[in-house]
Point group: C2
Chain length 551, copies 2
């Protein structure tokens, strides 16, 4: 009799799970051995679990369905936790298969014995330990169904080694998924009245609302009613660029976001949440909406958003309203010494068709939205949960999901160093990812945050904690050490040449962009003054100013 | 008024916590700003939290007291979880300071909001969220007291940003630690009778029993009573080498360990636990002791072990028994093509005085104990919790703790890739660590485990999951990319030259030892046959055989 792991793999493949991002250990050996029995399952080996979980997130964002991870007990799950947190916040479907000791072994409290349930609970919407080989495939299908419940969540199935190696398992076929529940008429009518005459309304798009077909419907509604069209700060996946409706994303800096939101008195949430500041700051409010602004959500996360937006458009007679589309517009190629702004500008100039852009550039990516606004239509994937170390794994997963599309990952030097192992898996899989590491030799965002939390500019020892230049990181060597060809660029021309080179050739590439520390085009030390000044300007004028500096 | 973080740092420094391994974010900015107010606190920046937690473990193993970590919310803690698991199993004192959002901010469920308590619970023996600035220093002292309770544990203090930036905190002085409870006379008498005439007894040493002064006392007792002296498989810190009592460590492979234990009918545990197999294997028992063997522990983990062993020695009249000591003996320098065995041999030949040896070489380190047995006295730190990715961080922490001692870390290629960022902190701190990466281009131990769990030799797709050679990892470039000078060695002579070179020069060095896949000197495919054969041999003969292949 074959091991239950074989039936599990067949069940997963039948249900459409065709990729598993792995970092196995002894307890997962029967799962690994079963790979040869199920050719539909592609096992992508990673050298660190955070790469596996981040890649599964990237895969799900682009394919809309779950990839699996294969992790080794509580410690392997722990290593993957930060990117599972990001995946949870992105609300993607994701299936963790976490191997455990054989059930009989727990009694001995051996070295790797860990409390997998406790670790898993913090990120999993669904969690179960499979207790018999006969039930394993049923458990797996329930896990998948839970992962796929709209809008998507992390499901964790704990797989003891003896359940995996036991006999008597039979592969099962998934039942059709239930349709998501419908939004009731009152909610649609309430949304319509919020967009009525005389209101200064805005639609805030998040989650699924930043992609077709909801994006287009929302844009028609906004155009028809005069409402503004805003986007959440950190979208899981946003479709943007020439030929798509332009959406004004809220800024990460709450000082800027509150300027963007000034004057709004009705906010309609489409798969988004009320905007609040990312961190708390002494003496500053967390809520960013102007006083008296009313907020409502068109649909709850589990409800059928597309249907609700269609009905709202019908009710407002907006289905045939003109759809405002972003015109083609590319910035000129930059010249001279390189900085973060010019990296974004060059990217705007050269962005290929159908690119997937991963943004984990923190301070260095500030100008990315502005410079790519009129570039060919592309998908933007962002850091949904704030746990840095997501960019490279996400790019790997997106590239596995969409082998015919170029993936460009903009990653800060600090962020890149949490999960650099993703580069090795990129080389192994031969995926077309261009990893642009913006090396400003600092946790630059923390220099800013130190001031924002009121801790001043910091003494010498505090500032050392932001200094990544002692010693300097050489990302070209790091990439080459993991099998990824790499170039360093110190001028705008070098960067453009390296980007062209990388985009023209298949497989992964890394470009180390050597840039000075700066918040976009702004010197850090000037920013707090600007933020203060912005707060004191009338909203209209402040909006005009911030268009130069915010997404 | 200064922020509470300043009083916290002063309290920690007064209590002897003088090192903090950090990876801060915005919520920790006031702690970071306070570093300039407390020059006694050394903040060692890491690029990944698993490096911080592993280094704090290494520091505690060598210094016997807690270092602190500074981590950023649940995700930062999650990244540090695997090495906290190892630290928990090593039973070292360790203080995590985990920053959180300001208390008022939790209501908004912002992107980084996470369930820190749940994540922390799985590894922490003590856990508290500080709720006011006035109580912060008292909380910190309680955390430290808990961390230091014999034998040591992980204590986690959650520090909300507003508690850190609030006012009204006063630095506090620690109360003297309570003495550990005494073992009662009955337990000592019972231990003495187990070692009495006619019994085939063994002492199994673990934890604190593998270091002076307990080690010497235990060795006298064994010599006096004729009992064997065994050591646990994965010691946190073991003192060994010339001039120290030799201890026979149990093998990782349960097939070998059960041969080592054959014939024992009384096992006395000194800070150790009953030996069981690391993983469960189909149809094989987890318990390794011969049928009918009696087991008792001399002391409970929290009791005064040194006192108990002294009393046992007195009761047995063994205080003045001759102390068997390891003679000086070094293997000759190896020659020819390099393999894992020759790496261990060269290390045995060249090991300097007072070295600290970190062993995370998995299959490649099999011959390390044998070849270094007669080398100058050294400390051996091993992988206590089975979560690989510990070796490099542990070496960093040990080197920070003991700046006047050379640290040599033997790390497998697979293990090195979980936490390679430790190299950067080594370069930054200028510590004298020689990292030897044994690059066999494989998760070699899994090739063996696949067979041990009865999953056969694996098909082509299964075997791909162990293959780290596609693409090959270039550890010289990786090290240089993080500021650590590095060399590659493919012959025994090159390796010895590189090791000499590194030992003679301060600061960190990496040596990539290119070795074939093998389980020590044994070809992998032969090992299962040997293991089977060993089981069928009479114990005495089998012991003789295994001395050639086990620690």
């Amino acid at each position: 009799m074959p091991a239950a792991a074989q039936a599990l793999l067949r069940t997963l493949a039948d249900a459409g799970v065709d990729v598993c991002f792995t970092n196995p250990g002894t307890s997962e050996m029967h799962f690994v051995a079963a790979l040869d029995s199920e050719p539909r399952m592609r096992a992508v080996l990673t050298l660190f679990e955070g790469v596996a979980t981040g890649a599964a997130d990237g895969y799900a964002r682009m394919r809309g369905r779950a990839a699996a991870t294969l992790l080794h007990l509580g410690c392997g799950l722990g290593n993957g936790l930060a990117n599972l947190h990001n995946a949870r916040k992105a609300r993607v479907p994701l299936l963790n298969i976490v191997g455990d000791h054989a059930s009989t072994h727990a009694a001995y409290d051996t070295p790797l014995q860990s409390d997998i349930e406790t670790v898993a609970r913090s990120v999993s919407g669904w969690l179960r330990r499979s207790t018999s080989s006969a039930e394993l495939c049923g458990d797996a299908l329930q896990a998948l169904a839970a992962a796929g419940e709209a809008p998507g969540q992390v499901a964790t199935l704990i797989l003891p080694a003896d359940v995996s190696w036991g006999e008597g398992a039979e592969a099962l076929r998934p039942a059709p998924a239930a349709a998501p529940p419908r939004v009731d008429d009152d909610a649609v009518r309430a949304a319509a009245s919020a967009l009525g005459a005389g209101r200064r309304a805005a639609l805030l798009l998040g989650g699924r609302a930043l992609r077709e077909p909801v994006l287009q419907l929302a844009a028609r509604i906004a155009a028809h009613t005069g409402a503004r069209l805003l986007g959440e700060v950190f979208p899981a996946r946003m479709q943007r660029g020439a030929g798509l409706p332009p959406v004004e994303r809220l800024a990460y800096l709450s000082e800027l976001a509150s300027v963007q939101l000034a004057g709004v008195d009705e906010l309609l949430l489409l798969d988004a949440r009320e905007p609040v500041s990312f961190f708390a700051y002494p003496g500053k409010p967390a809520r960013l909406l102007p006083c008296g602004c009313r907020v409502q959500a068109l649909a709850q996360p589990r409800q059928d958003l597309h249907d609700a937006v269609q009905r709202l458009a019908r009710l407002l007679d907006a289905q045939a309203a003109p759809l405002p589309l972003q015109a083609v517009s590319r910035p000129p190629l930059p010249r001279g010494g390189l900085n973060a702004r010019k990296v974004c500008q060059a990217l705007g100039h050269l962005l290929p068709e159908r690119a997937i852009v991963v943004d984990e550039a923190q301070t260095s990516g500030l100008m990315l939205p502005a410079f790519t606004a009129g570039a060919p239509a592309h998908d933007l994937l962002s850091l949904t949960g704030g746990a840095i170390g997501q960019g490279l794994p996400l790019a790997l997963g997106a590239a596995v999901a969409c082998p015919d599309r170029p993936v460009i990952a903009l990653v800060g030097d600090g962020a890149a160093m949490y999960t650099p192992q993703a580069l090795w898996s990129m080389a192994r899989e031969g995926v077309h990812v261009v990893a642009v590491v913006l090396n400003n030799r600092a946790y630059s965002i923390l220099e800013l945050e130190l001031q924002r939390v009121g801790a001043g500019h910091g003494g010498a020892r505090a500032r050392e904690q932001f200094d990544l230049g002692r010693p300097g990181l050489d990302f070209v060597r790091l990439a080459e050490g993991m099998g990824v060809p790499a170039r360093r660029a110190s001028t705008a021309q070098e960067f453009a040449a390296a980007l062209r080179h990388a985009l023209e050739r298949p497989g992964p590439h890394l470009i180390e962009a050597v840039v000075p520390r700066a918040y976009g085009g702004l010197r850090l030390r000037l920013l707090p003054h600007l933020l203060d000044a912005l707060h004191r300007l009338p909203p209209g004028m402040a909006r005009a100013v911030k268009r130069g500096v915010a997404p």
